[in-house]
């Protein structure tokens, strides 16, 4: 598979690798994909509870080069965004930025899902706290 330089750069120098404490109240965790499908992404966001802005993000991904690159890019993009803005990130933007070939589009879909799952997890936590 011939990848673009952007994919190779994200693969070789992945941004924001790591984990937050998933129990922390300001952290949302998204875990999407399946080992049987060959890709699993864990994307975590840390949210400033007053402003609702994502201050930091981390990821770990099991998957091919473009899955790793897509999730690395996603962590870069969500940082500094409000939850609403992050929610609006579309997989097609990831495809465009990384010039992913058609056969790798599902990697970008997974990255979008991971962002949404992380935000969803955070919002669930808030709801739980409010009760």
């Amino acid at each position: 598979m011939a990848y673009t330089n952007k994919v190779i750069d994200h693969f070789e120098n992945p941004r924001n690798v790591g984990s937050f404490d998933k129990k922390a109240s300001d952290v949302g965790t998204g875990l999407v994909g399946a080992p049987e499908c060959g890709d699993v992404m864990k994307l975590q966001i840390q949210v400033d509870e007053k402003s609702g802005v994502i201050t930091d993000a981390k990821f770990k991904t099991f998957g091919c080069g473009s899955a790793i690159a897509s999730s690395s890019l996603a962590t870069e993009w969500v940082k500094g965004k409000t939850l609403e803005q992050a929610m609006a990130i579309k997989n097609t933007e990831i495809v465009e930025e990384l010039s992913l070939p058609p056969i790798k589009i599902h990697c970008s879909v997974l990255a979008e899902d991971a962002i949404k799952a992380a935000i969803g997890d955070y919002l669930e936590k808030k709801k739980g706290e409010a009760k």
């Binding site: 049987e36 091919c64 899955a67 599902h106």
Partner: protein
């Protein structure tokens, strides 16, 4: 060292310079058509051809008249299966094979199913081996052919060919074996092993691409084949077309060298392969050997590196040329059917890498490869949420995964 380091000898091999030198004059000076019976050019081409036929026959302990030259093993496999099917269709329409054969066998069998033949695809055990007993039980009165690969191209498992051959003899059924990966790696004797038809390829044994052969038994029994290609009646009428003299000369030379070097080479390759596997096991946890621990090709190492996806692993060690059973490396997005059929779960199939060493693999290259594999797996495991979860003591099977495929 030359990069990337080539560890994909099952896919193809570089031509041995000695083979290349032997072939060279047959492109330019000795260019005759071997079928030209009336002049020197033709005679010389024919002599070269017959010398090559003897060389190919010798590596199989066959007789030279039993060798049919083809364009490669895919054609040899097609000719064996379709040729027998058409020739013996009035005798029976049942063929037995295994479910981890090369596509050149499986796809030909699928085609034959559309032509009124019934195919039994025998399952293999967890090491990729066909059971002799299963072959015996699958043979029916209308079975005309058993086709079982000598050694598997992905996992290197070697089948009990002599025993299968014996069962076929007892039952009076023809026995074909796709020996593409076995030739030059293990001793082959078509007489002792009861083989009636055998496919081999030039480019897997340091010969040229585009040339192969089919061994077709001439005595007890005399195997007859309907040709796929009609024309001038070359190759005892089984394969028409002007013979590819330079390619065939190369195939012959490659066989001659492979016979001569077999013992020395297989010993060296086995030592290299075992050294690599031991080093990987010493440095990494959660690594699994795919295929048989002992009954395997000396140069094959197929390993699942759990929690690291194969394509990303290959991308991380771009200094190595290897192949993977991961779906992401295939056009179909399906993981390897061979791994699936030996019971490797899809999760582990995605993490498999096949290393295959060969004639020109040096110890220095191997040292580099071992270090590269270990460091890349460690790096990608630091990136793997699965490895992290397992280390935290989470059972991955307890997670409700959200698969997309």
């Amino acid at each position: 060292m030359k990069f990337p380091i080539y560890l994909d000898y099952h896919a193809t091999t570089p031509m041995d310079p000695e083979v290349f030198r032997t072939m060279a004059p047959y492109f330019t000076e000795i260019f005759g058509n071997a079928a030209s019976r009336n002049h020197e050019y033709g005679w010389k081409a024919e002599a070269a051809l017959e010398n090559a036929r003897t060389q190919v026959a010798q590596i199989l302990s066959a007789v030279d008249k039993e060798i049919i030259f083809t364009s490669g093993a895919t054609e040899s496999n097609n000719l064996a299966l379709r040729g027998v099917a058409e020739m013996y269709r009035d005798k029976g329409r049942h063929i037995i094979t295994s479910n981890i054969e090369h596509k050149a066998i499986l796809d030909t069998c699928h085609y034959l199913e559309t032509q009124g033949f019934q195919i039994t695809y025998l399952p293999v055990d967890n090491f990729g081996m066909v059971s002799v007993q299963a072959v015996r039980e699958a043979i029916r009165p209308d079975t005309i052919l058993v086709s079982i690969m000598f050694a598997n191209n992905e996992i290197g498992t070697i089948n009990p060919i002599a025993e299968i051959g014996k069962v076929c003899k007892e039952k009076g059924v023809l026995f074909h074996t796709d020996a593409v990966q076995a030739v030059g790696k293990v001793e082959i004797d078509v007489e002792k092993m009861g083989i009636d038809l055998l496919s081999l390829s030039g480019h897997k044994i340091y010969g040229p691409k585009g040339v192969g052969a089919l061994y077709v038994r001439r005595r007890s029994p005399r195997v007859r084949l309907a040709p796929l290609i009609h024309g001038g009646g070359h190759e005892r009428g089984m394969r028409s077309g002007t013979l590819n003299v330079p390619g065939i000369v190369g195939l012959g030379k490659a066989c001659e060298m492979a016979s001569r070097l077999l013992l020395e080479e297989s010993t060296r390759l086995r030592a290299q392969r075992d050294r690599m596997w031991k080093a990987i096991q010493a440095e990494l946890d959660e690594v699994y050997l795919n295929g048989h621990p002992t009954e395997r090709l000396p140069n094959n190492l197929n390993v699942s590196f759990a929690f690291v996806e194969g394509e990303s692993l290959m991308m991380g060690m771009k200094e190595l040329a290897v192949s993977s059973g991961s779906a992401c490396t295939s056009a179909s997005l399906e993981p390897s059917y061979v791994l699936k059929n030996i019971g490797v779960g899809e999760d582990l199939a995605h993490t498999s890498i096949r290393f295959s060493m060969g004639r020109f693999t040096t110890d220095e290259e191997l040292d580099f490869a071992i270090k590269k594999v270990v460091s890349t797996v460690k790096k990608l495991r630091d990136l793997s949420p699965l490895y992290e979860m397992v280390k935290e003591g989470i059972d991955l099977k307890s997670i409700a995964w959200t698969g997309h495929h």
